[in-house]
């Protein structure tokens, strides 16, 4: 099947194509070279006047796993259904279900999404949920840094090479694409009734600091050659003055690759009457000065949402601000998590400043290859609010309208009114396509090169950028038309991506003995088997 996508304005930063009109040719599931004779096309889709990009990639969105699923159950009132959305597709009427996640992402032209917090003990359920999300490709990041086995290795001064083996084994056991560290040592400290853990605080019982854990994991990721840098949820999330923690963490990276997640939640100073101010300028300067650092924002958008995180210590601390007044904290082997519903209100001084800080970071960090478009779904806002965020980034006048509506004090102290920058389509294509693919090591997507996977999003140009990105005109996944005029027309099974770095098999013997001693199951059953996943939940794994 040879398809010609004809005459669209192309935005393909990997190939330095910035709005030039051209054709994209697809043979089956891949982008191919134009044939000598255009009449060979089996199908031609006329896209004159439209915008065409590769399918978008979300590097940090909580779409699967025990924490997400428990949040669904906790808050039935937040996703009541009113009507069947796509009667022809299973579970399309079930809001905030696995099916709904796939359909809603596809409608906006997203074709790959990463679940950034896979606690290894819960990895099987994560993969089962990911397999039930239609259309989009997925991946997970395995959480380490509160696992007793790793902390013991550090306590007993294990060689870095052995730590590398263990990290590689963890990826093998969880079938994930990369490694995430959440408040390194924090969940462990909380188990010993410690309520805060700074970067250089000692983790009780283990005799090393949070920094020591982070450094060891970061080195392992670098030395193993894993494409995605260690994905870091820093200490002290949400605390006024925590920009210093983020700055210290950037220094701790010592020039090696590190990705800092949802940095809006770390952009907080402690100046002013209320002891809460924007630290965005200092953070943005540090990011710009350290090319080894990448960040995603975790933008806050106003409205009801729920915060879900593996940072059990910080989530427990947030219980008093739950809205509605219910919250969940859970602990399990090697980690934990918490669920705290929350409503961001524009007239609330703190919430309004959080909103502004996120946008300041987007606008001050002038390198779309190193800053990523996220709301930390659903923590800052649900991903379904992405169209609003596109508009805020691309339309200064619209931002200024909002500045007149939010808490006046926050609007006054924010830099936002002085930032004229507007993202253009080329920068959006970098930030949501080319750069995420590069950051994740998924070289087969995020661009329109010959041989790339035919994940394509086509949009109707219009002044209202929320409308532009909210409903794609056309979306192809693996060369198959899945969305037309913002509506899902065909559903298919996505794939799940993972890496498989090598490791010395001796580590497996050690882990197996550890499991026999401390776990409720055998290591062989703890490790995910790709064949078993395929046979049972239909998960098709792609190893990179």
């Amino acid at each position: 099947m040879l398809t010609r996508l004809k005459g669209a304005r192309l935005y393909d930063p990997v190939n330095q194509i910035n709005g030039e009109v051209g054709d994209v040719w697809i043979r089956d599931n891949l982008i191919c070279a134009a044939p000598d004779n255009p009449a060979e096309a089996d199908k031609t889709i006329n896209l004159e006047g439209k915008i065409l990009m590769a399918g978008a990639i979300d590097i940090h969105s909580h779409i699967a796993g025990g924490n997400v699923n428990s949040a669904r159950v906790l808050l039935p009132e937040q996703h009541l259904a009113e009507q069947a959305r796509y009667p022809q597709h299973p579970f399309s009427s079930a809001k905030w279900s696995a099916a709904d996640t796939g359909y809603r992402y596809a409608e906006m032209g997203f074709t790959t999404v990463v679940e950034p917090a896979v606690l290894p003990i819960n990895a099987a359920q994560v993969h089962a949920e990911l397999a039930d999300i239609p259309i989009i490709d997925t991946a997970g990041l395995a959480i380490v840094g509160n696992d007793d086995f790793l902390l013991r290795m550090l306590r007993y001064k294990a060689e870095q090479a052995r730590i590398n083996d263990y990290i590689a084994w963890t990826l093998h056991a969880t079938q994930c694409l990369g490694v995430k560290v959440i408040n390194a040592g924090g969940a462990t400290a909380f188990k010993f009734n410690q309520r805060q853990l700074n970067l250089d605080d000692e983790v009780p019982m283990y005799g090393m600091s949070s920094r020591d854990i982070l450094t060891a994991v970061q080195r392992a990721v670098v030395q193993l050659g894993i494409a995605h840098p260690v994905h870091v949820h820093c200490n002290n999330l949400g605390i006024p003055g925590n920009v210093s923690t983020a700055l210290e963490t950037i220094k701790a990276a010592e020039g090696m690759p590190m990705h800092l997640a949802h940095v809006q939640f770390y952009g907080y100073g402690d100046q002013g009457d209320s002891g809460f101010s924007s630290g965005a300028k200092a953070l943005a300067d540090a990011v710009m000065a350290n090319p080894n650092i990448t960040v995603d924002v975790g933008q806050v958008l106003f409205g009801q949402t729920v915060t879900i995180s593996g940072d059990v210590m910080r989530q427990f601390d947030a219980r008093h601000i739950a809205n509605p007044k219910k919250w969940v904290v859970w602990e399990g082997e090697d980690g934990g998590g918490g669920i705290v519903p929350f409503q961001y209100r524009p007239k609330n001084q703190v919430n309004a400043l959080q909103w502004a800080i996120g946008l300041e970071l987007f606008l001050l960090i002038d390198d779309p290859w190193r800053i990523f478009f996220t709301t930390d779904h659903p923590n800052g806002a649900p991903f379904t609010a992405y169209p609003e965020l596109f508009r805020l980034l691309m339309d200064r006048d619209y931002r200024n309208l909002w500045l007149d509506k939010i808490n006046a004090k926050s609007a006054d102290i924010s830099l936002l009114r002085h930032l004229d920058r507007e993202y253009d389509l080329y920068e959006i294509a970098i930030m949501t396509r080319a750069a995420p693919a590069k950051l994740l090591g998924l070289s087969d997507r995020g661009h329109l090169s010959v041989g790339a996977i035919a994940d394509i999003a086509v949009y109707q140009p219009q002044d209202n950028k929320a409308a532009l990105f909210g409903k794609a005109e056309l979306v192809l996944k693996d060369g198959v038309t899945v969305v037309e005029k913002g509506q899902v027309v065909h559903s298919l099974q996505g794939k799940t991506h993972a890496v498989a770095p090598g490791f010395d098999s001796a580590i497996e013997s050690a882990v197996s003995r550890y499991f026999d001693r401390y776990h409720l199951m055998k290591m062989d059953h703890y490790k995910l088997s790709p064949q078993h996943l395929l046979e049972t939940v239909g998960s098709e794994l792609v190893l990179h």
Binding site: A64, G66, N69, R72, V73, L74, L75, P76, H79, L80, A81, Q83, A84, P87, Q88, H89, P90, F91, S93, A94, K95, W96, S97, A98, A99, D100, I121, N122, A124, Q125, A128, D132, D148, F190, K191, F192, N193, M205, F316, A322, K325, K326, W327, V328, V329, W330, E331, G332, E333, I339, R517, Y518, L520, M521, K522, H525, S529, E535, T536, V537
Partner: protein, 378 residues
């Protein structure tokens, strides 16, 4: 508990009686090996699979409100059940729906703070048992969780304190005393427990099956106790399922339909109602006119009801009273086919492997065939 260290007692095609550690496992293995029913039954008489699927499809299409119930199975069975309910505009519930719904009500009203079986095994220094009979439901809990000496930071197993039948009063007094509330009653019976809690670093209230008429209040009191205590010290709940697919049915239902069990698709979209969508109520009131009973982990027969019944079930299932309209024997997870089942705390899905060959289809394959008989509307 989904123990993965027990094996099928096969030796020269004979069963080996009792592995000595888990009668529940031995019974399960033995029943599976004795399961011989390979053909479907229409009112107790064998028919072909083609006839059976045609009949089942017709019953589902003609029903105004099918109830997909039982769900005593693994993840594959649960997914099949939820898909069937969505496709045929039915309602889904679990055999232990009353207990699941009770816990959901508590959870959805205020949340809670919980731990896992692994954390209790490795970290808890005091376990307060709030249950009737854990030996029957979770026969190896003592061995695998409560009595282990290989623990992360100590070799001493936790102190285990079992609450007696006065548990609600005990817990209420305890909560009041911990909060320094004045009490006009004799509190001496709680002295020992209070002392143990005050000395403990990580006490856990382990809640298992309860027949107590005040069960909901007991659990709510435990939830409140744990919430209060965590203001100053560490403490947690551990709520345990039955091992009959209850946890898996609820959790997989949540990511499929957004809510879990007791969710109805009769309006074309999911509506959860923990009271009105009780399977037993729908059957007794006659609101459901077809029962589809799915049970692959248990050979217990379905409830005897007036509605026509389709059983998608364990091949060793027998019927003492009237046979169901249709009995469709299917493969057993962990015996005939691979699968996944959540362990009792819901944190880990444990893989189930196929141990012996079987000609039987899975519940998922059967349900897909039934769904395929009626295309979805456009």
């Amino acid at each position: 508990m989904v123990c993965d260290d027990l094996s099928l007692p096969l030796h020269n095609e004979q069963t080996i009686p009792g592995q000595g550690t888990c009668e529940k496992a031995v019974t399960g293995f033995t029943l599976a090996l004795e399961a011989t029913q390979a053909m479907p039954l229409l009112k107790g008489k064998e028919i072909t699979w083609t006839e059976a699927l045609t009949k089942a499809g017709a019953l589902l299409r003609e029903a105004n409100h099918p109830l997909i119930h039982g769900l005593i199975g693994d993840l594959i069975d649960s997914k099949a059940a939820h898909k069937l309910a969505e496709h045929f505009a039915g309602t889904v519930d679990h055999r232990h729906g009353d207990a699941i719904a009770r816990n959901l009500r508590i959870y959805q009203q205020g949340g809670w703070q919980v731990s896992s079986m692994g954390e209790v095994r490795n970290r808890a220094d005091l376990v307060i048992l709030v249950c009737d009979d854990l030996e029957t439901t979770l026969p190896r809990l003592q061995e695998k969780v409560l009595h282990s000496e290989a623990r992360l930071h100590t070799s001493a197993p936790p102190t285990v304190y079992t609450l007696d039948e006065n548990r609600l009063e005990t817990l209420s007094i305890l909560r009041a005393r911990l909060a320094n509330k004045p009490l006009q009653t004799d509190t001496s019976a709680t002295d020992e427990l209070l002392s143990l809690i005050n000395k403990a670093d990580y006490p856990v209230f382990m809640i298992g099956p309860l027949q107590d008429k005040a069960t909901e209040l007991i659990i709510r009191t435990c939830v409140g106790l744990v919430r209060d205590m965590n203001e100053q010290q560490r403490c947690a709940l551990l709520l345990l399922g039955t091992g009959e697919g209850d946890i898996t049915a609820q959790l997989s239902g949540a990511w499929h339909n957004g809510f879990g069990i007791r969710t109805s698709f009769t309006k074309g979209y999911p509506v959860q109602d923990l009271q009105m969508h009780s399977g037993d109520r729908l059957l007794q009131s006659g609101e459901s006119d077809l029962l589809v009973w799915i049970s692959t982990l248990s050979s217990d027969p379905p409830p005897n009801v007036t509605q026509p019944t389709i059983v998608i079930g364990h091949p060793a299932m027998t019927f003492k009273t009237d046979p169901p309209e249709l009995f469709l024997p299917v493969s057993i997870p962990g015996i005939h086919r691979a699968g996944y089942l959540h362990r009792a705390d819901g944190l880990r899905m444990v893989p189930l492997n196929a141990l012996i060959e079987s000609p039987l289809s899975s519940s998922a394959a059967l349900c897909e065939q039934l769904i395929a008989q009626e295309p979805r509307p456009c």
